[in-house]
Amino acid sequence: MEVGMLPISASKRGKLLAAGYTTLDAIARASPTHLARDIDVSDSEASEILSLATKASSALERERPNGTHTAVVGGGQTAWDMLNEEKFSSCITTSCVDLDNILGGGIKCKEVTEIGGVPGIGKTQIGIQLAVNVQIPQEYGGLGGKAIYIDTEGSFMVERVLQIAEACIEDMAEYSHQFHKDFQACDVKVHPNNILENIFYFRVCSYTEQIALINYLDKFIMENKDVKIIIVDSVTFHFRQDFDDMALRTRLLSEMALKLMKLAKKFCLAIVMLNQVTTKYVEGSFQLTLALGDSWSHSCTNRIILFWNGNERHAFIDKSPSLKSASAPYSVTTRGIRNSTSSSKRIKMM
């Protein structure tokens, strides 16, 4: 294995190659003091390089455990195990039954969902609704988790969150009233203030802050294990204006996307990114597409596009590995995101 594949800085790599160390074996055989002297770095840096090299080469020589049914390479899961795990994972409802239906139950955990649309279509509203709905206790079919809300535009209104939280608690009370019919169970023990307490709010004002925050989230979530959703509203804002170096922007965005994917998988949470729209010149006409370019369009697992159809708001599933392409109407009311009024003929239960 080559030295080029070790995650070390370019200058150290250059020094190693100049001193004649081109394979891991060569480094592993040297002692830290010899290495430090040969490539002119401090002893601690040399031992760090050595530990990386020995870790990499020992990973190659790891003995296979005794057992006929182990994977060819450690660290993976068979599809059968993943299928069984999926049956037990729950979704975060959007409070709109039609939208939940096309999403297969709601926003799924372990996946990164991108939601984009024109201004005023309700992206922030959906974000706030999800931040509240993730906290629905498990007795009512929710996840009982906390939410992280990363605000880049300053569109998070606490009064609105309070409004939506109160409406959600009223819906929960009505649900338990309908299904349990005994008055003790009617008392929903959640108070709107509790819901507000469980939303961790971060405000970022530049792209460096955004990237630094995403890097920090790993540690944060280790300390707050019940976070179940991260909402980034919106992921585009700091990358659109005044970014001179487009190549740097592509690199930063793709690295950020990979980090978010890793967070989603590692902690089994849902990540929702809200995006803006731009026009693109395609085949002789201008079309509306989501911002941040072609490379970014691959950085999400699912994509939902919100658009106006006449006077109604619609959501369309543009990209998904397992869901069918479909669209559903929804509406934004004082109580939050709900079914579109034209399609609800009776009061729907949550």
Binding site: M1, G4, M5, L6, P7, A10, R13, G20, Y21, T22, T23, D25, A26, R29, A30, D38, A56, A59, L60, R62, R64, T68, A71, V72, V73, G74, G75, G76, Q77, T78, A79, W80, M82, L83, E86, K110, V112, A247, L248, T250, R251, L252, S254, E255, A257, L258, K259, M261, K262, A264, K265, D294, S295, S297, H298, T301, R303, D318, P321, S325
Partner: protein, 320 residues
């Protein structure tokens, strides 16, 4: 290519005498040794008091280096290897198989290029399910959490239509057990997995139903884009090393490798595959995917193929 002194433990002939002789000629590592004029070195060794041991040392070094080379093959041996070992794997979609000249060929690196949501991941999942159904193992490296076991289950269920219900679960379990999925979020992680795979495949004796025949990386462009460009050529070097490693794995272990790539905007607004000019020559076969907005039909055309004409195209419908 280690410094010479590190070889002393394994090869006692490379002792300090030999090393000081070499350093007097400016040779400090094995690489320097190979670059040096060996005849001149042997002539100098003759004039040295300890010429016998020095010449033995030189021979030892040369034979060790020779032993590390892969064997030379002639055309006939390559043909026999291709006919006997490099089979064709069906992808599960007849139109794609027709475009590929039979299917995915073992020993070749096939690339699926296309804009977002054009059907690349679906094609990967379909190929994985088809290959797993035919009693082979599949390794799936997933960078975007898009591996969907539900989708694979629906593919398996679609094509095994005549089976009774109580057998379906049993078949499904056997097929899904052969597909192993790794989540990689980092190009270095991918290298780790591939190197482990390389050394495990080299050293183990596998039963026939655990043979890995298909390796899918979905998508390799999301791993390489963060490191490409920027201040140094490091990103390019890693990209090309990844390509070499995949092709080497494919050839030595008779595996078909499938990778996906995305598109970027080029001149005049025409999109071109990402990862640049250097990557263009790495895959053996390149297929371009595209999908009309709002329809279920995806169009596939051949950008590059070693034995068939390019620009042939086909359309296929993604059923759900």
């Amino acid at each position: 290519m280690a410094p010479l002194k590190s070889l002393e433990k394994e090869y006692p002939l490379i002792d300090s005498n030999f090393q000081s002789f070499c350093s007097s000629h400016g040779i400090f590592s094995v690489e320097d040794f190979l670059l040096h004029d060996l005849d001149a070195l042997i002539a100098f060794a003759d004039n040295h008091p300890t010429s016998q041991t020095l010449k033995q040392g030189i021979d030892q070094l040369l034979s060790t280096i020779d032993a590390l080379q892969p064997p030379l093959l002639n055309g006939l041996q390559l043909l026999e290897d291709a006919q006997r070992n490099k089979h064709v794997l069906l992808t599960g979609c007849e139109r794609i198989d027709a475009l590929l000249g039979g299917g995915l060929r073992e020993g070749q690196l096939t690339e699926l290029v296309g804009p977002s949501s054009s059907g690349k991941t679906q094609a990967c999942l379909l190929s994985a399910s088809t290959v797993a159904k035919h009693n082979s193992s599949v390794i799936y490296l997933d960078t975007g959490n898009s591996f969907s076991p539900q989708r694979i289950a629906s593919f398996v269920g679609q094509s095994s239509g005549h089976v009774f219900d109580n057998q379906v679960d049993h078949i499904l379990k056997k097929v899904l057990d052969r597909i192993i999925c790794y989540s990689v979020f980092d190009v270095y992680q991918m290298f780790d997995v591939l190197h482990q795979l390389k050394s495990n495949l080299r050293s183990e004796i596998v039963k026939s139903n655990q043979h890995v025949r298909l390796l899918i990386v979905d998508s390799i462009s999301s791993l390489i884009t963060p490191i490409l460009g920027g201040s140094g050529p490091q990103g390019h070097a890693l990209m090309i090393s990844a390509g070499f490693l995949l092709k080497k794995l494919a050839h030595e272990n008779n595996i078909a490798v499938l990778v996906t790539n995305h598109v970027v905007g080029g001149e005049d607004g025409i999109s071109k595959p990402a990862l640049g000019e250097s990557w263009k020559s790495v895959p053996h076969v390149r297929l371009l995917f595209s999908r009309d907005f709002g329809s279920n039909v995806c169009h596939i055309s051949v950008l590059k193929h070693p034995s068939m004409a390019s620009a042939r195209a086909a359309s296929s419908t993604l059923y759900l």
